[in-house]
């Protein structure tokens, strides 16, 4: 898949410099679509899906606050 992404990218760069404009734009559109598809494939985990459970933004437990003179 990465091979096809770089193949379309190379074609787009070459066409942008010395080829027809429609070919450059078409190749770059294909490159963007393939890149986004590959990105989603790479970050998807069968275990977590697209979630990132290793990022914890909540406190484990609310810290106890003792008011002065009331140790109970």
């Amino acid at each position: 898949m990465m091979l096809v992404v770089f193949a379309t990218l190379s074609l787009a760069l070459l066409a942008a410099y010395c080829g027809p404009r429609w070919l450059a734009v078409a190749a770059m559109l294909a490159c963007v679509a393939l890149s986004i598809g590959l990105f989603l494939f790479e970050i998807y985990s069968p275990e977590y899906g697209f979630r990132m459970p290793w990022l914890q933004v909540e406190l484990d437990a609310v810290p106890q606050v003792w008011s002065r003179g009331d140790p109970a």
Partner: protein, 192 residues
Amino acid sequence: MNRTTGARLPATLNDLFQLAMMLTMAAILTAAMVLQYDGGEIPCPLCLLQRVAMFGVCFGIIMHFRHGYSARNDGVGMLFALLLMMVSVRQTLLDIYPRPGHSYIGSAVLGLHMPVWSVVIAMAILAAFAIKFAILGDEHLRDRPPPAALGRLAKLLSLYVIAIGLINFGSVILQCGADACHTSGYRLLGGL
């Protein structure tokens, strides 16, 4: 300042901006390749996608110098900056909490690892485009070819970017073949 000079100045400044942007992208991509070929740091799949996004920014600039100014070319550059931001933020968050099998790949430069640098670079590209549009607008930029010296420089730089793009393509063939990419070696050189 007469009317012709006044109208040409924004177009020349825009050409200089585009050239500086392409030079910066080329320098970053060259540094990444030096780290890969000289430092032995084989890029991960998300790292390769970040390179694609940087080449995409260059694509918009090459189109500008070949076909003349169009806001569409700048739009393409900004779209790829957004792609770079999306991929690098995800990779930064993926490895931000070290755990088995997950840590930042490669060496740190000035204390920041590559995906974190990519976030900074993507933000800088988007900020640069925003500032350019805010200062220059786009009404005086059309149908004005760049000065000869700038045009020659842009041509040389475009050829260099295309050349490193092709080298990266060859490198991906060696590293990944037609399969998934790994950072443990070059598949076609028997590294896997």
